[in-house]
Symmetry: C2
Subunit: 421 residues, 2 copies
């Protein structure tokens, strides 16, 4: 696998980007052979800067839902760009998009558009506090809700005071949720919830309906706002808010990533129960009124409504999960595929520093299949059953390689933090 261009770019990046790269797209915590820089995306495939082609199970960490470079979605973007994009005010599309989303998402009566997922989750927090005139938010330990000071998983440079008034519970643990609510007393502004447990480094878990229903009930009893953070999972589990599958409607939900298939837009949706708070806050951004991403979002929503993308993702995901479990077992590995099949996470048993996962993932990469060793992955509608079979064939080779090389694998130094190192 040629990596010369990637290595040359890394050397240049080291000079002009702190640490060589930042944020979730840094390869700092990926195997050393993973490319940092990409040149092209088309449908379900990526090409790195050295021309290597991959079936991409990360889908840009979520945004790619219908395929990279989707013809009608990109045409909607470009068409609107030629009329007007960032202007001195919004276009009519902001109203059309708010109408489209509130028509699709059961709990939603209104929308505010922004750019980052973190914009949406931060506005949800501020809106809940404005609406209730209370301070405390309950959220699950280990859940990711963005990278602002209040929620960033690596709080270097954030103040304790910026992270105050938060109480942590354990996802799916009703008793810990109830204890947190009791601790909040009469100052509970909101309960935040991921649609399922999609924390990094650990098995994913579907939401326990009892937990979700209890969260709703506790909010009703206390007057707090229930927030479902659907930034990562939105529209990959449902054509509605993800917890609608459990019969639970939040007051606020946060969206981003794939709602315009990779074009930059995120959203806070809310019920009338939170409208007054939302109207009272001040949040804005230079590009929040951009018309072109709204045009792309409208076309993406049309595809969500009018195609069988969701059934297709589930079919592909189930085929992949079943096939992987079978092939892992055949080689004697305990290999866990967790979470919804269309957003799976892969972990090996007895692999605390991920040395098995890193070796196996590198073997997949070498065969043109880009998987992630510790973060959930994403299926896109441009994938096919043939792609799944390619991935399964690659996995077979990778499991066999791991069986052969496993006993001699060295510790993964960069992941030593997982085992307290």
């Amino acid at each position: 696998m040629d990596q010369r261009q990637d290595r040359a770019l890394r050397a240049r990046a080291e000079a002009v980007i702190p640490g060589g790269m930042y944020g979730h797209q840094s390869t700092g915590l990926l195997p050393d052979d993973y490319p940092q820089f990409f040149a092209k995306g088309r449908n379900a495939h990526l090409w790195d800067v050295d021309g290597n082609r991959y079936l991409d199970f990360m889908c840009a960490y979520g945004p790619n839902l219908f395929g990279y470079g989707h013809e009608t979605i990109d045409a909607a973007y470009i068409g609107q760009l030629q009329h007007g994009d960032t202007l001195t005010g919004p276009s009519a599309l902001i109203v059309e998009l708010a109408e489209a989303l509130t028509a699709m998402v059961t709990h939603a009566d209104w929308a505010i558009f922004c750019k980052n997922g973190t914009d949406a989750t931060t506005m949800a927090l501020v809106t809940a506090r404005a609406q209730t005139r209370r301070k405390i938010v309950i959220r699950a330990r280990g859940a990711y809700h963005g990278s602002a000071p209040w929620c960033t998983p690596r709080p270097t440079g954030a103040l304790d005071s910026e992270r105050s008034h938060q109480i942590f519970c354990d996802y799916n643990d009703v008793a810990s949720l109830e204890a947190a609510v009791a601790e909040a007393g009469d100052d509970l502004a909101a309960i935040f919830a991921a649609p399922f447990k999609h924390d990094a480094f650990v098995d994913q878990a579907e939401p326990d309906p009892t937990y979700a229903q209890r969260a709703r009930q506790l909010c009703d009893q206390t007057g707090a706002m229930l927030v479902v953070d659907d930034v990562r999972a939105g529209f990959r589990l449902s054509r509605d808010c993800s917890w609608s599958r459990l019969g639970v409607q939040p007051d606020l939900s946060t969206w981003g990533k794939c709602i315009a298939n990779g074009h930059p837009i995120s959203a806070l949706l809310g019920s009338d129960s939170a409208r007054k708070g939302a109207a009272a806050i001040y949040a804005t951004g230079s590009f929040w009124y951009q018309a072109a991403p709204m045009a792309a979002a409208l076309e993406t929503l049309r595809l969500i409504r009018e195609t069988d993308y969701l059934g297709h993702l589930e079919t592909l995901g189930q085929h992949l999960a079943d096939g992987l479990r079978e092939r892992a077992a055949a080689q004697g590995f305990g290999f866990r595929v967790t979470g919804p099949v269309q957003m799976p996470l892969f972990l090996f048993d007895d692999d605390p520093d991920l040395r098995k996962g890193f070796h196996w993932s590198s073997q997949m990469l070498a065969q043109g299949v880009y998987v992630h060793p510790w973060h959930n992955m994403f299926m896109c509608a441009a994938m096919t059953l043939e792609d799944m079979d390619q991935a399964l064939n690659a996995a077979d080779v990778a499991f066999k390689s791991l069986k052969k090389d496993g006993p001699g694998l060295q510790p993964v130094a960069k992941m030593a933090f997982l085992t307290g190192g």
Copy 2:
């Protein structure tokens, strides 16, 4: 002036957007005849949804530097979009853009790209705290540095604890800056500074070089980081960081708005003095690695380097400012044009609730010239001397109308807050 489409959209927006619109592009604090929704932008002009055409002195609140729908900039965006935009990793353009900016901006050794101006200012704050391991930031009363809880000008829903560890001084007042530094003691992380005083509702002011130099000196003495927030003014005053004109180099500078001529990208630039802190923080966003806005930024920077846009903006701005002062004086008005001529703010003497400003601005609007009654405006390179003369002719009519109608003007209820109402 036909407003039927605009009125119809406002009614629909009222249902699906809290308060009908949010943030800085809400017309809530503009005269009632200002359009909320726009259909098209081209060069220096805007069209609202009813087909009314305006010479636009807001330039999308800054992003439009070379004209709406700029041919080569938009071609760069679209060309890159067709290769790849939001992928599973950045493209080579992130390195090229970091190299281009650090080559142009004297103090900058590195760059981090993001979406909102607020992303950049918040990262500047967090980086300064990470670098210095201290907490306090000094900033000027009334200065806008974004809309996150720590800095939003309307803190409904934000906690006092999120806004702690800030000390306020008065812009250009060396004694108040020194007092703030003394108060911070050994816990000063950063001094934030706007490149000039561009607060809303009040006269703008150029930076006093003594103030800027003293800020640098105080940072050197205390080990704090100097941050110049160039999100709004960057590249409209200089092809370098705005305070380079005063011979003052910050440790960190924040950029956004026009660096890709309206395409969504912002940036934190830093010196080696802040590199360690920047590498230690965790901040990221779903679309921060988008390649298409970086392609557009590279083309925008090329135009900044290779054209005389800056001299052109100054010539236009001076012609406009001189002409307005002359026409105002001829009708007997005290009319103040403040700030750099390419980013002017207009205020009338003896106009505490802006009733004169509102009337005059509405008269300008009716003649196809979009000005703002209390926020600084922005010139773009697509404007011409003929455009300035059109604006001056319109102003002549507007001043005469104000002279006639002025004595009977009613209070502007929505601006009563300015006079404590």
